[in-house]
């Protein structure tokens, strides 16, 4: 479970550094931080159902030298307490860490009201905000200290449940740098979150059809690894993005901007197409929103068609 990995890494940090504090808003049994209350009773605060207060309070804690991690569902961080994140934390240059759980379709049975398909895009619009989505346990373990000690505010998506492991044990990730998981020269799939595993499955299927497709884990949406995007454009000439998020203002949009700036090549964006969430199992929702490995295969075929027409 990602939650257990998170709690393990966080406990380690809290043991070493008394400045690290945890805030929650009546979801501490959901994200597991309730277990930290027993270990660090003075440094873990449940404010109750008041996200706006929690985020501004976290800013106040940062102003007196603490390192607060404020937890709630991703949808609430991005929608309910955005002004607090923007003004109290980011504009005030107070490096609060916002941890948003149940990103995208993993809000599953909580349905549309709880399903953040826009959180990364909203947070990306906040100046100086680092926006990151650790893909699997290894990446989370490697990135969490960098996130905690970042001098800027951070918005981090956190999967609570099991996610496919895509990175080998011992991976040392760097915030802001993508990781090439599989090389290839015909096209590149730049993916994030749940979609990295789908991208790998798609690349595997395409290999059976004689195509060599590169797969990159773009776990940091901001700052985006523009150098790597450029490299993929130059070396493979066609790009597909895949994200557990709206294609508006998310990874697909960020990559499109970068390509337009640096090296326009054909691009297809897999993700949620300007629509609200729905209730259902993650598998159902992945089909519903056309976010499966099969959908990525289709996108790669389309993008290769466009690439061929250009050459």
């Amino acid at each position: 479970m990602m939650r257990d990995v998170y709690l393990g890494c966080l406990t380690e940090r809290m043991e070493e550094d008394p400045r690290v504090l945890v805030l929650g808003a009546d979801l501490m049994h959901s994200d597991g931080t309730a277990t930290l209350q027993d270990i660090f009773p003075r440094r873990v605060v449940n404010v109750g159902v008041q996200e706006a207060h929690m985020v501004s309070m976290a800013a106040g804690l940062a102003a007196v030298g603490k390192i607060p991690l404020a937890h709630t569902f991703a949808c609430f961080h991005a929608r309910r307490s955005l002004d607090q994140a923007y003004i109290s934390a980011a504009y005030a240059r107070l490096p609060v860490k916002l941890i948003g759980t149940d990103p995208g379709i993993t809000a599953a049975f909580n349905g549309a009201t709880h399903m953040p398909l826009e959180d990364m895009g909203i947070m990306r619009s906040v100046p100086e905000m680092i926006v990151v989505e650790p893909t699997d346990p290894e990446l989370l373990r490697s990135l969490l200290p960098q996130i905690i000690y970042a001098s800027q505010p951070v918005y981090m998506r956190l999967y609570r449940k099991e996610v496919p492991a895509v990175h080998p044990v011992g991976t040392e990730a760097v915030l802001g740098r993508g990781i090439v998981l599989r090389d290839g020269s015909d096209a590149s799939i730049l993916a994030s979150g749940l979609m990295v595993a789908e991208a790998l499955a798609a690349a595997h299927a395409l290999r059976q059809q004689g195509l060599q497709v590169r797969v990159v884990d773009m776990f940091t949406l901001k700052p985006l690894d523009r150098r790597l995007v450029y490299q993929c454009a130059v070396e493979t000439g066609a790009i597909v993005t895949a994200e557990n998020h709206s294609v508006i203002n998310g990874l697909g949009a960020a990559v499109a901007e970068t390509l337009a700036d640096l090296m326009p090549v054909p691009l297809e964006r897999v993700g949620v197409q300007d629509r609200f969430g729905e209730v259902g199992s993650p598998d159902f929702l992945m089909q519903r929103f056309h976010m499966t490995a099969g959908d990525i295969v289709g996108a790669v075929r389309r993008v290769l068609g466009r690439k061929r027409r250009l050459t």
Binding site: L21, V47, S56, M57, A58, A62, A63, G65, D83, A92
Partner: protein, 280 residues
């Protein structure tokens, strides 16, 4: 008890803050005059008698903090800080100019002595609660003060913080409400009345007091009483007059943000000077 000498000193300090704020806004011809004028006396008490701060070391870790939650009253705070030596008085004339360190709303990254960035109403109280919580964790002797507007108390986030801090019993948190009865669009009573503020905050578990917000001695005594309430978060409701001491703003209904002529400001400064003579 405040000595007669200290009382006199605070009245004079308040008078000087008022005058410097008028000149500062006067340079622009517009600004949040009403809510600046109504908090002059509490600023005088805080920076003249209560707060432990060091103008030579604005980031001193054991200092007391002020969060001006009603961030639009920044110009009054800047006048108090300049008079306390945080920066030269001449800097007040740069208010709102491009590249200034004195923006319309308080900004901790720009102005020496400003402890929190505010301007989006309702957030400053929560930030002050965070500061008080963090300082308490460290066993710090510092107090955190914050000034809210009464219109600001219509924000839902205020009541989130009031509930939380009432329960948390933050003895190092002292909140002032500038209860001048007016907000941008008119009288609070006509728009969305707040009821009895002291009573409401008491019901949320706060140590709560009502005082005349233009009486420096009364404010000072109330702060001492709040400091003594060690197990409780404290609120002091300041009964004030919006625009107080500025002849063209005081008594006006629409005095939250005003445009004024040079003649009006000259008259206001002349009246202010006359008022000063009564202090001697």
């Amino acid at each position: 008890m405040l000595s007669m000498e200290k009382y006199q000193e605070l009245r004079t300090f308040a008078h000087r803050i008022r005058g410097e704020t008028l000149r500062e806004l006067g340079s622009l011809g517009f600004g949040h005059i009403g809510g600046c004028m109504s908090i002059v006396e509490v600023l005088a008490v805080l920076y003249g008698a209560v707060m432990q701060v060091d103008a030579a070391d604005p980031e001193w870790s054991d200092r007391d903090r002020l969060v001006l939650s009603k961030g639009h009253a920044g110009p009054a705070l800047y006048a108090a800080l300049a008079l306390r030596g945080f920066f030269p008085l001449e800097m007040l004339q740069t208010l709102n100019q491009g590249g200034t360190r004195l923006p319309s709303h308080a900004d901790r990254c720009l102005t020496p002595g400003v402890d929190m960035t505010t301007g989006s109403l309702g957030q400053g109280l929560s930030a002050a609660v965070g500061m008080a919580w963090g300082l308490r964790l460290d066993g710090s002797p510092s107090f955190v003060y914050t000034i809210l507007g009464d219109g600001e108390c219509q924000e839902g986030q205020i009541w989130e913080a009031v509930l939380f801090a009432g329960n948390a019993g933050l003895g190092n948190l002292i909140v002032f409400i500038d209860h001048n009865q007016q907000q941008l669009d008119g009288w609070v009573q006509d728009i969305n009345p707040l009821g009895e503020l002291r009573q409401k905050w008491e019901n949320f578990g706060w140590h709560a007091q009502d005082v005349d917000g233009h009486d420096t001695a009364a404010i000072y005594e109330a702060v001492l009483s709040a400091q003594a309430a060690k197990g409780s978060s404290s609120v002091i409701v300041l009964h004030t007059v919006k625009g107080k001491g500025c002849s063209f703003a005081e008594g006006e209904t629409m005095n939250h943000h005003m445009r004024f002529t040079q003649e009006q400001m000259e008259q206001a400064l002349a009246d202010w000077e006359k008022e000063g003579e009564t202090l001697l």
